[in-house]
């Protein structure tokens, strides 16, 4: 009897069996998988499981501790919610890849060694790519291709780092690594690609809004959060992360304000929230690590909820563009309500974001990182006005976009309701979340200062937003795209293509002209009447000596050339050539 199953195995093996499950049973089956997984997870004892010797390497498939367990719990929750959300699509490919993707994320979270980690890390890339392809539009296909190329590059960085690290230390153990050698720096960068660090973030805002409706919900939960997890495990307390995270928290805000595609607005806000977590990892104290774990937990739920609500809008109206939406509160009241719950969960007291984000802010204050503290406070304002005010305003209120649609399907509403409930539950009873955190916390989020400060911050941000809207200063949404860092590699690839086109095709046509056209033509002329011209050149002085006129000369030339072309030499000529040839051979 197997005591514990690796959670990744339950998801991946279970997912591969989905196409075999018949009819209605399938819906029950795909919802049961995360539930069985959760039951297994809650019975997992802390410690190391499944040590495997593989070609002389000691691998450890599962290392369960409090850090990995809390990530696994929230991954199970969002997997269940996400599967419920995509239940009505009846798409086996999406079911299988979504669950395999969740399984790979769980594999990364429990990996006790770097090789197992790498295996599941690549699994994340492959499975998530299918979630983008599942949209089945040409722009989604192109985005999926770019996405896979960026992640392949990131994966190679990670692999190179792992190989160098193993070569230097002889160890494959996955624990705290620190930035001591080139190997660990490469691992750091490999993690950074999946974490969407500034300049490495292009794939996220490029691909997430192109993915399938349900795919985006899964994508938002797993790739970046596993990256946060591995950074927290391997590079906690690395000071450079504080600044990387601060930049991440700030720069997407400006893009989010001017972006027209609402799912892309949420993708920018996602980077901003990951920024909070990266700052926390950089601070690295127990309070900070607790903060980032709590933040990741809450963020997976409320960002999932926001993406689900806008996904439902996209499902019903066929668009997620601010310019084409508006006034949907009437036709989709529940979706609107759940979106507003998710928006409140970003920061408002009584919701999940409030009790998690204040841990990170407090950690920054404890370490007296004032600049970072101010930046994070500004980031909190920015994400609230984008995801919390702008998106619902343009989707559900504002100018009527003319869509008269039905409310979202029941399974979608249930999924959103579940996520909204969890956001509220965690906000009201934060100790349930705090009890799961890696370190014991004695933290009280509901102090007068915190609550009042946060309320003032949000209300006055809202006040400024409404005044800017009323006065017309707030930038009107326009049908346009905004260039971001993916421009560089999209243009670079075009430049490469054009460069290769010019150089290789240029060489090709040059060689074609020289060899195929000119050289063969000359060769053929040479063999046609080369010897004749040679003979003519030899006989020219004789002709001149005989004082032939131009007419005679031309006639005799014509005669010689014709003789050569037809090959009807006189016997005497043949004899002379044969003798000459034999003499030549004799001397050679």
């Amino acid at each position: 009897m197997i005591e514990v199953m690796p959670p990744a195995a339950i998801f991946i093996i279970g997912a591969l069996l989905i196409p075999l499950v018949p009819g209605r049973l399938k819906s029950v089956y795909i919802l049961a998988l995360p539930v069985i997984g959760m039951w297994n997870l809650l019975n997992l004892p802390l410690g190391s499981h499944y040590p495997v010797a593989f070609h002389g390497y000691d691998l450890l498939i599962m290392e369960v501790d409090r850090l990995s367990r809390v990530f696994a719990i929230v991954f199970h929750l969002i997997a269940f919610i996400g599967m419920l959300y995509i239940l009505n699509f009846k798409n086996n490919l999406e079911y299988v890849t979504a669950l395999c993707y969740a399984g790979c994320a769980l594999g990364v979270v429990f990996a006790g060694d770097l090789l197992t980690l790498f295996f599941f890390w690549e699994g994340l890339t492959v499975t998530s790519m299918f979630l983008i392809l599942a949209r089945q539009t040409s722009s989604a296909t192109a985005a999926a291709l770019r996405y896979s190329l960026v992640h392949a590059a990131g994966g190679l960085l990670l692999l190179a780092g792992i190989v160098m690290h193993h070569h230097a230390t002889g160890s494959l153990a996955f624990g705290h690594l620190g930035l001591g050698s080139l190997g660990t720096i490469l691992i750091f960068l490999g993690f950074g690609v999946n974490c969407a660090w500034p300049l490495l973030h292009g794939w996220l805002v490029d691909a997430y809004p192109e993915a399938s409706i349900g795919g985006t919900v899964f994508l938002a939960a797993f790739t970046t959060k596993t990256a946060v997890y591995v950074l927290a495990r391997a590079f906690a307390g690395e000071p450079s992360l504080i600044w990387i995270g601060t930049i991440m928290a700030i720069f997407p805000l400006f893009f989010a304000i001017i972006e027209n595609d609402l799912r892309r607005v949420l993708a920018y806000c996602l980077i901003n929230q990951i920024g909070f977590m990266v700052v926390g990892i950089g601070i690295g104290t127990e309070l900070a690590i607790n903060g980032i774990v709590a933040q990741a937990f809450a963020h997976i739920l409320y960002k999932g909820l926001l993406f689900m609500a806008i996904g439902a809008v996209l499902y019903r109206t066929g668009t997620a563009k601010a310019t084409e939406l508006g006034g949907l509160a009437k036709s989709m009241p529940w979706t609107c309500f759940f979106y507003l719950m998710g928006a409140a969960a970003i920061a408002a007291p009584l919701f999940a974001g409030f009790v998690s984000k204040s841990l990170v802010l407090s950690a920054a204050a404890h370490e007296q990182l004032w600049l970072v503290w101010f930046a994070l406070l500004l980031a909190a304002v920015g994400v609230f006005i984008s995801a919390g005010l702008k998106v619902p305003f343009f989707a559900f209120f504002g100018n009527d976009g003319g869509h008269r649609v039905k409310e979202a399907p029941l399974n979608m509403l249930l999924a959103m309701g579940g996520a909204a409930f969890l956001c509220l539950f965690i906000g009201v009873f934060p100790h349930y979340l705090y009890d799961l955190l890696p370190y014991d916390v004695a933290y009280q989020p509901y102090t007068y200062n915190h609550v009042m400060g946060q309320l003032q911050l949000l209300f006055f941000a809202g006040l400024a937003f409404s005044l800017l809207l009323l006065s017309g200063v707030y930038p009107a949404e326009v049908r346009a795209i905004n260039l971001d860092f993916d421009w560089t590699y999209r243009m670079a690839s075009r430049l490469l293509y054009r460069g290769l086109d010019l150089s290789l095709n240029g060489i090709n046509s040059l060689i074609n002209r020289l060899v195929a056209v000119e050289f063969t033509a000359r060769l053929s002329t040479f063999f046609q009447d080369g010897p004749a011209r040679f003979v003519l050149a030899l006989s020219r002085p004789i002709c001149l000596l005989r004082q032939m006129d131009a007419k005679q000369l031309a006639r005799s030339e014509e005669k010689v050339l014709r003789t050569y072309r037809l090959g009807n030499f006189s016997v005497a000529c043949t004899a002379i050539f044969s003798v000459g040839f034999l003499v030549l051979l004799f001397f050679l």
Binding site: F254, I258, N449, M452, L457, L458, F460, V473, N482, L483
Partner: protein
Amino acid sequence: MPTDDQKERRQAGQQGKALLILFFACCLALFAIDFVVKRPAHMVWEEWPGFYALFGFVGCVLIVLMARYLLRPLVKREEDYYD
């Protein structure tokens, strides 16, 4: 004779206006309370009355203005730019 749609719209407009007034009143109350109740805080600036309110307001305005006047002129392109 106004149609049902127009009536509805007018009604929604009135509701919106009422909500907006309520919202402004809440803002005012939240701002005023800082001058009545002193906050026990870690940092000096947290004790200044209206610090968070001002930060939220100015922060929002700054982000919107910078996005509109600095970033948008730099990065805005036609929708078919990449095609």
